[in-house]
């Protein structure tokens, strides 16, 4: 239990760090981005919205840095991430609320599937070392060096087009209204398949490589030799002794690598015009929509932390040595 508490403390620290970064970064932006927006909207903004943006950008020059910081924290706690420039007059929180489910659905599911598939394949390849399975390594190395988004481009070029089953863009058929009927779900799955496969192909290879290496390392540990000496069936030695132990560093690796993986997968959304956070990030960069950028950064960080917490729980369940009984 104390292990989890310690991790929770660490996550709170990380959230604080992310929020603080978010507070200071906009202070580097040259000029007065809010003024530009106000001019563009010709006074359609409420004074409240303007004030919230000033807090966000630290343009309240009369206030001390400390009081700016606390009004920023207070604003965040109220869930106020400011006003999006591109989707004016929608608040950033609403814009992100639209995108988040798509990202969680696409990136979340495929990342987890990719981890499991890659780990399973890596365990096999590592176990069958010295056979044909070794020839997979150069291929996976090459594939894992390809940026996700480029693989998406290739997939679109090769697999979509007139008459193809795979749509090239969007998350569902244009004209459908999001709800829980079969037509809509079917359309969602159809649209998610190709971006999902793209993420899967590129993320799987990384897991194959790391699990293979762990498997090779663990295979010459004493307890694996003992398991062989016990005359256990090969499957049992491989799964319960070698793979079971090789899995541990792979799970903690998964938690650590999430921050890296998420970045790559978000890009796939851009290529497929998939209406998630990645596409919004792209639009925000193009339009210099700073509040949206910062909001997306915060939400992604929180999601990654949550995923980390889940990975911690999984690790706790997998490794008896982290459990402290009594």
């Amino acid at each position: 239990m104390s292990y989890l508490l310690k991790r929770l403390g660490f996550y709170l620290l990380t959230v604080w760090a992310a929020v603080t970064i978010n507070f200071f970064v906009p202070r580097m932006i040259p000029g007065d981005p809010v003024q530009a927006l106000i001019t563009k909207q010709r006074g359609q903004m409420t004074s409240e919205a303007v004030r919230s943006l000033y807090v966000l950008f630290g343009l309240d020059k009369d206030e001390s840095l400390a009081s700016q910081y606390f009004s920023y924290l207070g604003q965040l706690l109220r869930g106020d991430l400011g006003m999006s420039f591109t989707f004016f007059p929608s608040p950033v929180a609403d814009v992100i609320g639209d995108g988040l489910p798509w990202t969680v659905g696409l990136v979340g599911i495929t990342t987890v599937i990719g981890f499991f598939l890659g780990t399973a394949a890596g365990a096999l390849v590592g176990w069958r070392r010295g056979t044909w399975a070794d020839s997979l390594i150069p291929v996976t190395t090459f594939v894992s060096s390809i940026p996700y988004f480029w693989l998406g481009l290739v997939a679109i070029a090769l697999l979509t087009g007139p008459g193809s089953f795979f749509p090239a863009s969007g998350a569902y058929e244009i004209g459908l209204v999001p709800n829980w009927d079969w037509q809509f779900i079917g359309s969602t799955v159809q649209h998610g398949l190709l971006p999902g496969l793209t993420i899967l192909v590129s993320s799987v290879s990384g897991w194959i490589l790391s699990m293979r290496n762990m498997m090779v390392t663990v295979s010459s540990d004493d307890y694996v030799t003992v398991a062989h000496a016990k005359g256990l069936p090969e499957r049992r030695v491989m799964l319960a002794y070698a793979a079971r132990n090789a899995l541990l560093p792979n799970v903690s690796g998964f938690a650590l690598a999430l921050g890296f993986i998420v970045g790559g997968t978000l890009l796939v959304e851009i290529v497929f015009s998939y209406p998630g956070l990645g596409l919004q990030l792209f639009q925000a960069v193009g339009a210099k929509d700073y509040p949206l950028l910062q909001g997306i950064f915060l939400i992604i960080t929180l999601s990654v932390l949550l995923a980390n917490l889940l990975a911690d729980v999984a690790y706790l369940a997998l490794d008896p040595r982290t459990r402290r009984e009594g």
Partner: protein, 293 residues
């Protein structure tokens, strides 16, 4: 090296890219930004990789872009490596709250998603150039290696010869420089290579979403224009294939070098030559046929 074909292949390929980075701009047959009347042409003898919607020569863009890619990779890799050594080795060597604090710092930087962080920083900067992009990547990407180095230093610190040096009253600096650092060389090298790979991918990704050196070229900018001009729907495969392959090749080269280092550090990973068709197998030691040797 000769016994390590992976690392050798990787290094040769890497050398090729570094060479291109140096001489690329002179080799390029055209000014990469120069427009011409050959609009959206497929590869031909005059334009090896075809042309863009403005008639720019893609071969020249890729060649010229190599320099920015290698530059950002090297600078970011250096900055991150120096930082990771400073933070990681101190975190491992210092006991007590200082060490704990540094270790927590690197863990925080590790779980914060790198790419979104780099995006918000670079897009808030007053100006974006190759140097600022490299610096931002370098300043945010050191945490992974710092963590690895800390773990290594912790285990080295408990070795006999380090304990002995400390008992002899050698200064902390001497111990770190002469007893600990030499044993970290492989780890640091592998961290550097890994960071270069990460930096290259990050720079290209940034360029792809529109954050790049103003007016300059890199492989990501080529892809950015290909994407924004709908190269795909126009069937202009030559617009994005060369840049992508270049990334994948450079990435593979870097990974190969790292595999080589990994195998050097962890001998269990070495692929053993299965000479005479003998397969090494845990649990069932191979038995040579009766007559051979």
């Amino acid at each position: 090296m000769r016994s390590n074909p992976k690392a050798l292949t990787g290094l040769v390929a890497l050398g090729f890219f570094v060479l291109l980075a140096v001489v690329g701009p002179w080799l390029a047959p055209f000014d990469p930004s120069m427009r011409s009347n050959d609009l959206l042409q497929p590869p031909s003898p005059s334009h090896w990789f075809g042309t863009t919607h403005l008639g720019q020569d893609i071969f020249s863009q890729v060649l010229v872009g190599t320099r920015s890619v290698v530059f950002v990779g090297a600078v970011a890799g250096l900055v991150a490596t120096v930082l990771s050594v400073l933070v990681g080795v101190s975190a491992g060597y210092l006991s007590g709250s200082a060490g704990e604090g540094l270790s927590a710092l690197s863990n925080v930087f590790l779980v914060i998603p790198a790419l979104p962080l780099i995006v918000i920083i670079t897009s808030s900067l007053p100006e974006t150039s190759n140097l600022t992009i490299a610096l931002v990547i370098g300043l945010t990407a050191w945490a992974w290696n710092a963590r690895v180095l800390r773990a290594q230093t912790l285990s080295l610190r408990r070795r006999d010869y380090v304990e002995a040096a400390r008992a002899n009253g050698e200064s902390t600096w001497r111990i770190i420089l002469f007893e600990i650092m030499p044993n970290l060389t492989a780890v640091i090298a592998s961290g550097f290579v890994g960071t270069v790979l990460f930096a290259v991918i990050s720079e290209i990704t940034l360029a792809f979403i529109g954050v790049s050196d103003a007016g300059g070229w890199n492989w990501g900018t080529v892809l950015y224009w290909a994407q924004s001009q709908q190269a795909l729907t126009q069937g202009a495969w030559w617009w994005f294939v060369p840049a992508g392959l270049a990334i994948a090749l450079l990435g593979t080269a870097l990974s190969l070098v790292n595999f080589g280092i990994d195998e050097y550090v962890n001998p269990r990973l070495r692929t053993r030559s299965s000479t005479r068709g003998v397969r090494m197998r845990v649990g069932f030691t191979p038995v040579l046929a009766k007559e051979s040797s």
